[in-house]
Symmetry: D2
């Protein structure tokens, strides 16, 4: 039987709902964060994403705001009503991150960071576990077992691209992982087309494809001004592009038996999906 | 400007139409071929596929019926009204195949078989060129140039999976190739989810994903009795599974701005897409 | 200018010396460890390897002896005179491991575990940094910068195989990484043919190849009874096989301008390389 | 029992001998060809390589001299006493190439060009079959069976690199293929470090590594003026670099139980390996 993971009061992933998590790659400034948070909330995202501990290839790159970024995320969460997902890299930071974020993300570079997996397994928070770029699906499922074994069964898996030989894309988004995971595991699975392609112009097509393949949701990077982003700007959608994509996805997901989950579902007085006005969010 | 390739009188690929090519991996017997041909025609496929010159890894495997298979394909084409696509491997066979088939397929193993590319480039028939399992998208586009340079600009590209490290699937279906090709080339592009996954149970999800990614069509293996197929039975859909998938796809493609192309479009008295009865083809 | 990393008093890597590190994948029992330690010391290894914190794909697999294993390693080090290299996975364990081991290994799964890299960077101990299975050489060099930046410039790199598509070997040992790293970095580089192939019968050929390619040393798994090993027995050499390989390597390395480094170099009264008797170590 | 393939009168591959095949990627002019041919003969190569039918990614690249190039190769062969290996791409050219060349090469792009494999299988000439960039070792062995099945059992296999994700090298040279092939097949196997790395500065290290891994020989590109080469100049050694490498290899191969095979072995009055003067060929 498929598992449903409760992400926040009134919001679950893994059943009928299609959950879009969106936001900037990295939290940079309050203004940029709030602009994006308001936009993705208005466009119908259910979860706000944003990185404060950034796993960067080079130590000379921007490493994230750390704890002060967490506080900004918490503020943006209160402002928009959206629960927040953010990455934790260090087992010593897990308690801190769990205080401020609704969902703990373990990134692809840490998929087999077993001390970290055990630490998030000891929390109550749902965990978003991303597939490593060289990990087989079975290795991803074994990694999830490290979390489950500690008592936390609120695990959401995420396909985000594997290494390939073609420089046309940064990674090869392995969408077949979605139906394979559904055959092998009861855990929900979402897709990250932003990292999976590394190129904003490819994100809408791959986001639609992921939805059509049966994914339980998406993780999408959005930035108010991608050209000045401190991290991965090349793959971030602009707010209007995200709104356009969200509108397309809202029409698509019912065809694969899903319902669009809004952060609205969390509160009580926001418009329901049926009355949601596509026109209002079109660019 | 995007190119539209005329596949048969009244049937083009690369514009608004979404073209599904379906049929057995290999032509085996008249009875099996006709059963599948009738099924895929009834379910709304636009083109009948079937292999008669089979590129098999081992010389001990079934190598295809050769010319007698071509005659069966031609008969199935007349019977159903569907144009036929079949693979040609040997430059010395190109004239023969072009006599009997509407579309010449160059398989992934021959993507850089340059004498063969030149030979199909000298024909008038449209050519379906499949991406090699280790070929970059740019290498695929260069291979197409070998055909174009000989004067045949009716080339349709096909993504069919690249080599990956995870034994969960036979290949990694690189769906991002669809939007990348559309950015780099005017040629239409279809997707083969059967070879791209190697596993029938994954084909529907990947077929839907390909359509949502913007592909101009699909190449799908269907076999009346996959368990006795002489080639690649593991990845063939049964007729009822194909009909079910076709019904799903017919609802999906309008969402990405496409219209379903039927072989029916070729003749005159078959039901049009608007009156096509989904219920009639449900399993 | 190439950097030389001092591994222990009298033992450096990165200059003329060719340093072989050998021992069991995991420390299991005192008896098994000492048998292997004595063997590899006698055969001319310069460093003893052994895992006590094991990064295992599944949480149900043997996870290593932890601190009690460290004490056994320290005992084996005193017994043989060989310095010990062992993996550390958790930033919280770095101090503990640094107390007992001469060299800190960061495994391939943790190549981009940046908190761990920073923590070993704050130690004085040399660090053996293994390339991730999906990491480019430049990503490996950037990971090393995380260690260097903290003030520890005693970093030795290790090629141990990247993900490939052929199940004939567990990974693809990318030996060209050796000359590429030498072109791009002053850091020494060794090769792990045990993990790089996953198959003991392939280790001698790949060990010789690594030496011929110019590697500064090798990391080789040896087990007294591979068939009962709790971890990776399939890739472990038996003691006699290792002794045979060491004898071959000792003849080979002078051809590429290297000298065989013995643990003997550490002490004073062991035979020097010139008087070392090959016959004595032949199986 | 391991098979030995006779390449020319007095010259076999697959037993004790280590056979180096060297020459330009493409035959360009008589002068360039003869300069290289004389150099590689003097440095101790046993076979002259040179391409006249070139499989180029783009149709706009130099495609080779064709038949006139074959005549130049035949002339260079008479001049130096070295047998010639050259690629054939088109089954219709096999007879022509077999008239002028001692060894027929099937390139990596054509490893599964089954009509071509059958055609070279009907010749008496030895066939050099290169592994495809996405081919498993078992697929290579199956491809060889297409040749063997037609009656030609003089097949030499060649590892030349598989597709990988790291742009540091053009391909990943999979040297473990050498011992794996020796475990699975009696056929001899050589290595092409020029295509396998795509970079001349890496060729010597990988050539030595291939020899140390137990390869039966090498295929190496040499060009008198790489900077003006019409094809793959980036990976060609200069004559002096090749002579230096040959001298190194001549000292290395005895350590792995091999003897250096010279073209000299073909004639009678050239110096034998024992009296061959390394100094004479040093740059």
């Amino acid at each position: 039987m498929r598992k449903s993971v409760s992400l926040a009061p009134g919001l679950a992933i893994g059943g009928d709902y299609f959950v879009v998590m969106a936001g900037p790659c990295a939290v940079e400034t309050r203004e940029l964060l709030f602009t994006v948070a308001d936009t993705v909330a208005a466009a119908g995202a259910a979860v706000l994403r944003g990185g404060v501990f950034k796993p960067r290839t080079s130590p000379k790159s921007f490493q994230g705001l750390g704890e002060s970024g967490l506080l900004l995320l918490a503020e943006a969460s209160r402002r928009t009503g959206l629960p927040v997902v953010t990455e934790v890299m260090d087992p010593r930071d897990v308690n801190l991150v769990a205080e401020h974020a609704a969902i703990l993300q373990v990134g692809s570079r840490n998929m087999q960071n077993f001390p970290l997996l055990r630490e998030v397994g000891r929390q109550r928070r749902p965990v978003l576990l991303k597939r490593g770029a060289a990990a087989t699906i079975d290795e991803l499922l074994h990694a999830a077992e490290y979390i489950l074994q500690e008592g936390n069964d609120n695990v959401v898996l995420c396909e985000r691209g594997v290494r390939g030989f073609d420089p046309a894309t940064r990674y090869v988004l392995d969408l077949a992982a979605v139906p394979v995971i559904k055959q092998r595991s009861p855990l929900p699975v979402i897709v990250d087309p932003s990292h999976g392609t590394g190129e904003a112009s490819l994100v809408p097509a791959m986001a639609r494809a992921a939805a059509a393949a049966g994914a339980d949701g998406l993780l999408i990077e959005v930035h108010a001004q991608p050209e000045i982003a401190l991290s991965d700007g090349k793959q971030a959608l602009r707010p209007a592009e995200f709104a356009q994509l969200a509108a397309e996805l809202r029409r698509l997901v019912p065809l694969v038996g899903k319902r669009w989950a809004r952060g609205a579902a969390v509160g009580a007085d926001l418009p329901t999906i049926d009355t949601f006005d596509d026109q209002a969010i079109a660019p």
